[in-house]
């Protein structure tokens, strides 16, 4: 079973008297463990689709299924719980909590939701993630004492701390220089391999797209291409 499925999903925004059709009816499925790129020019609907998958926004029409569950019928409280338990977020502009240190930012999602105790096991996982993103010497710093790349590493660790099934990243490298951006993507790819976490990221950078196993191309709110990268799925070739 696919972990994410969109069936003829549409999203319309009322803008004054007119309606903007940001997503005009898209259908696709996403498999567990994939490294997926949603690509397309500015305004093509990438962020809108990520918001639908991330339960940040609701579809005007059509269905969004997470782990086979249709989210249309859920109340805000249940949606928030589902989001907390299944989805991690990496934002373009990092969105760290300014008053919290690196470690506190990473731990923060663990203190929300039903099970909000910081057990020894969870603390060890935080330690592991801090090592994994290479911030062991920055755990006591606040976000304003970190570089952009370091901030995005904190965000990656934060997105992973609840062991989500899916991590969504809307243009995670757009605010970084190309070298740092490459490093961040390599880190995401490494974690995708090590932890089998599904990553869905949007980009309009053609180079980055090539790292993906599964590519969905958009234009004007419609899918133009949806394919699995052959070289990745057939390691022998």
């Amino acid at each position: 079973m696919s972990i994410v499925e969109l069936k003829n999903a549409k999203k319309h925004y009322a803008l004054g008297k007119t309606t903007v059709e940001a997503v005009k009816g898209v259908s696709f499925e996403i498999e567990q463990g994939d490294f997926i790129s949603i690509a397309g020019p500015s305004g093509s609907g990438k962020s809108t689709i990520l918001n639908l998958i991330g339960l940040i926004d609701t579809a005007t029409n059509g269905d969004v299924l997470i782990n086979g569950q249709n989210v249309a019928t859920l109340k805000d409280r249940e949606i928030t719980l589902l989001r907390h338990e299944t989805i991690g977020f990496i934002f373009q502009s990092f969105n760290l909590i300014p008053v919290l240190t690196t470690r506190e930012n990473i731990e923060f999602p663990l203190l929300l939701g039903k099970n909000n105790k910081l057990t020894k096991e969870r603390k060890e996982y935080v330690d592991f993630l801090i090592e994994e993103v290479g911030l062991a010497d920055r755990i006591r710093n606040r976000p304003n004492e970190l570089s952009g790349g370091q901030r995005q590493r904190v965000a990656i660790a934060r997105a992973l701390v609840t062991k989500p099934v899916i991590v969504l990243a809307d243009e995670p490298t757009a605010n970084l220089d190309s070298q740092t951006g490459d490093d961040i993507l390599k880190l995401m790819k490494k974690i995708n391999k090590d932890l089998k976490t599904t990553f869905i990221f949007s980009t309009h950078d053609a180079k980055i797209v090539e790292l993906a196993d599964h590519i969905i191309r958009l234009k004007d709110g419609l899918i133009t291409e949806n394919y699995r990268a052959v070289s990745k799925t057939l390691p022998g070739s």
Binding site: V99, L112, T162
Partner: protein, 432 residues
């Protein structure tokens, strides 16, 4: 980390803004603490000083109208009162029987002064024996002879020493002039009130002789309670009990009122009146209560302004942190938690202001209570040993704490609820 801890951390984000709002709240509380503390201390000192001047906290008097229409203040016996006091188990420390004369002329070889004069029992275990601070002479065997005790101030005015003769001139109850000679046996420390209020005391029967009253008679039966604050309560109970026994009473009121009733009413025979320390002080207390009320109203206006400030500030804070709210929601924070995050922040701000204001207020009161106000003679009656008595009411502090914390929460509720209602999509999209 709980929502509350995070709210506390957020409070430090806009230090200037927090300081300004917290400072305004602190200022309000400073004023409340000082006004309450001062008026409370003034009233307490007033009560303590006045109760040294009047013959009890609950006072019973009797009046008799003669066939000629003259009103004579007199009580022939006190058994009925003492029985009632014992039956009701009134918690008292002293009872007294006194003959009070409002004004007599005290004449020495050098000068004359007009004082209130009381015939009392000054023996061991009486109120005055315990409360008067004797600076010269003594009260031993006082009740046996023509002894008189006066205050330091009066002694100075009359220029008399222990053992000197003082003549007391007064009207008898029937209106004749009379003079009795006394010997100065003791001088007591000025009670910190205007000298004219510091009365002279002599044995009951000698004063009765001056007034042409029979031995054993008196004008006033006074009860000194263990707790002055219960005077009204016990006064009312006693009055009811005595009325139920069939004793005729004048309507309850202050001194002036009773005087008026003696004159105006068409009554005959014997009639009683009961009044308490509070009846005497009600006028002055009323002034303080009015002052407190005015201070309270000014503060109310101040707090309305502060509340508007809090609402506006938190509207701005929510606006500034919109994207952060979106992030918190995306990470799994529920709507009520987001709302509480802002509510807690405001309440912590309020609590901080309250505590700082209270501590500052107490500090001011402590400093003021150190100041020697002996130069402030006319208001001695409001002081204790020439100082303002420090008085801090923790009960009203607790009340202020709850009310102000509640008000800040209320003021922040509207923006906090808006923060909770933001959808993650719109919150994350904002560009500020």
């Amino acid at each position: 980390m709980s929502v509350a801890t995070m709210a506390l951390k957020n409070l430090s984000r806009q230090k200037r803004r927090s300081l300004l709002l917290g400072g305004a709240i602190a200022f309000g509380l400073l004023v409340i603490t000082i006004v309450n503390g001062l008026s409370g201390s003034l009233i307490t000192s007033l009560e303590a000083n006045i109760s040294n001047l009047i013959p009890g906290h609950v006072i019973l008097r009797g009046a008799e109208k003669t066939s000629t229409g003259r009103v004579i203040l007199t009580l022939k016996e006190s058994e009925v009162f003492q029985t009632a006091v014992d039956k009701l188990r009134v918690p008292y420390s002293y009872v007294s029987k006194t003959t009070n004369v409002q004004s007599v002329a005290l004449v020495s070889d050098f000068s004359t002064t007009y004082q209130s004069f009381s015939g009392v029992n000054l023996g061991q275990g009486t109120y005055l024996h315990d409360k008067l601070t004797i600076v010269e002479g003594s009260l031993d065997d006082f009740d046996a002879a023509d002894n008189i005790v006066i205050s330091e101030g009066v002694a100075k005015k009359l220029n008399v020493q222990i053992g000197d003769r003082i003549s007391v001139q007064s009207e008898t109850i029937t209106g004749q002039q009379n003079v009795v000679d006394f010997v100065l046996r003791a001088i007591y420390k000025d009670p910190g009130v205007a000298a004219s209020l510091a009365g002279a005391y002599a044995p009951l029967d000698r004063v009765n002789a001056l007034r042409d009253m029979k031995p054993g008679e008196f004008t006033t039966f006074g009860i000194y309670l263990k707790d002055v604050a219960t005077a009204d309560q016990w006064g009312a109970l006693l009055l009811k009990d005595l009325q139920d026994k069939g004793l005729p009473f004048f309507a309850r009121g202050g001194l002036q009122e009773t005087q008026k009733q003696y004159r105006d009413q068409t009554w005959t025979g014997v009639k009683y009146s009961l009044y308490t320390l509070n009846d005497i002080l009600s006028f002055i207390k009323g002034i303080f209560q009015t002052l407190n009320l005015i201070a309270f109203l000014i503060l109310l206006v101040l707090f309305v302004v502060i509340m508007v400030g809090i609402t506006n500030t938190y509207r701005m804070v929510v606006y500034e942190r919109t994207r952060e709210i979106g992030t918190l929601r995306a990470l799994g924070m529920q709507r009520p938690e987001v709302r509480n995050l802002f509510l807690y922040e405001a309440v912590f701000l309020g609590l901080g202001g309250i505590v700082v204001g209270f501590v500052a207020g107490v500090f001011v009161l402590v400093v003021v209570s150190w100041i020697d106000l002996s130069a402030w003679k006319d208001f001695n009656i409001l002081l204790k040993d020439n100082h303002l008595q420090l008085q801090v009411n923790l009960g009203s502090f607790a009340l202020n704490l709850i009310v102000i914390a509640g008000l800040t929460a209320l003021a922040a509720l509207f923006p906090a609820r808006r923060a909770g209602k933001l959808t993650p999509a719109e919150a994350l999209r904002t560009t500020n």
